[in-house]
């Protein structure tokens, strides 16, 4: 899956879980600082990403995913 596909899939999840407008879900955006996503919504995003992309995001890895770009990188490097 290309980075563009991952980004658009992630944007769908962000819209559904946290009400983020898809146009705002760009790689440089910080989940907590820019998109107002709290720690529990991050868990919901992680489980939705796991379901959608077939990757596992353990809780200790979740703490390292701070921006949309981090999430795209994570999915890209972990997808089978």
């Amino acid at each position: 899956m290309s980075r563009e596909d991952i980004q658009s899939g992630l944007a769908e999840i962000l819209e559904e879980v946290a009400g983020v407008a898809p146009a705002d879900a760009t790689p440089e955006k910080s989940f907590t600082e820019d998109l107002d996503v709290d720690s529990l919504s991050m868990v919901e995003i992680a489980t939705a990403v796991e379901d959608k992309f077939g990757v596992a995001i353990p809780d200790d890895e979740l703490g390292n995913i701070k921006t949309v770009g981090d999430a795209i990188d994570y999915v890209e490097s972990h997808q089978g």
């Binding site: 720690s39 529990l40 868990v43 919901e44 489980t47």
Partner: protein
């Protein structure tokens, strides 16, 4: 060889009385915001709590348990000497010895019942309910008293805003009696001991820590199967459920579970956490009594309950409201 004889059990058990105790002091989010870096908006959006009750010095675990247990006994119309099993669920005893079940029973005038404390964290009430119901069905008890009581403020670090805004105090109790028609379904229970330290009072510490994200993920992804199991074992479907009363840990978990089970507006969902905070083993009887008092739920309604918490432990069942 002499054969061991067993007692004759009952076909089922049901709840015949419910009682609660809410501490006098009401603590609002605004009051907390004066003492720590938080706000009403932050607390409501993260955990859904508007206010909670904090116990005063004289509202001890024993006193709150006696108050809730006494109300449950009075509601059941049963005499104390008809009770022969008392299970007290709590995770906030400061001293592990002695358990307080026997003392609470004594204070209620229940003569020499089997009495014990049970610690399964926030799942304690549902574990106790399952064991007490089984004891009645096995004939080891005629009637039983189950109490959930907590003073979580005793084990909360008031400088840790992630837990200080959540945990609270209170007690709830039910009297169970033998019945021909089962009023408590088979328990569905389980544990995930690999996450033993997700909620803990670490050795040498006197306060509780919680890995919020890990617990939230566990509660919103793994526990739906226990809820489905509790319904399947009782032979009921989601469409038969009138009331859904999961442990009041976080309003967002309540909403996620409700959504995953597909419950619509016709199911009354307990949201007592808004007024009571997280009272661990006391939260389910407190939530049920609030729903019955407000008239949102009524006697005879079929309720699905689920306790879950430290251990990690989970237990749930279907029951008929008294």
């Amino acid at each position: 060889m002499t054969r061991i004889q067993l007692r004759k059990g009952a076909p089922g058990a049901r709840i015949v009385g419910l009682g609660d105790y809410r501490p006098r002091r009401r603590v609002t989010n605004d009051e907390l915001a004066q003492a720590m870096d938080t706000s009403d908006e932050w607390i409501r959006s993260r955990v859904g709590i508007a206010e909670r009750r904090w116990a005063a010095e004289d509202e001890t675990l024993v006193e709150m348990a006696v108050a809730a247990g006494g109300k449950a006994l009075a509601a059941s119309g049963m005499a104390p000497d008809e009770i022969d099993l008392v299970i007290l669920a709590s995770a906030s005893l400061r001293a592990p010895i002695p358990g307080i079940g026997p003392q609470v029973a004594y204070r209620l005038g229940i003569p020499r019942p089997g009495a014990l404390d049970l610690n399964a964290g926030c799942a304690g009430f549902c574990y106790s309910l399952g064991l007490a119901s089984d004891a009645i069905r096995a004939g080891d008890a005629r009637n039983a008293l189950v109490i959930g009581v907590e003073r979580l403020t005793d084990v909360t670090d008031m400088s840790d805003r992630s837990t200080a805004v959540i945990f609270a105090d209170g007690a709830g109790a039910v009297v169970l009696a033998a019945s021909d028609e089962p009023g408590i379904g088979p328990v569905a229970w389980g544990s995930d001991g690999d996450q033993f330290n997700a909620i803990e009072i670490a050795a040498g510490s006197s306060t509780m820590t919680m890995a919020g994200q890990a617990v939230y993920r566990w509660a919103t992804t793994k526990l739906t199967e226990t809820l489905v199991e509790a319904m399947e074992r009782a032979g009921v479907g989601p469409g038969d459920i009138d009331v859904f009363a999961p442990h009041q840990a976080n309003l967002r978990i309540v909403e996620q579970m409700t959504k995953k089970l597909g419950f619509g507006d016709d199911v009354v969902v307990a949201r007592d956490i808004v007024r009571s905070g997280n009272t661990s083993a006391a939260s389910i009887p407190l939530a049920l009594s609030a729903l019955l008092e407000s008239g949102e739920a009524k006697s005879g309604d079929l309720a699905l309950v689920l306790g879950y918490g430290a251990g990690l432990t989970v237990a749930g069942q279907v029951l008929v409201l008294p």
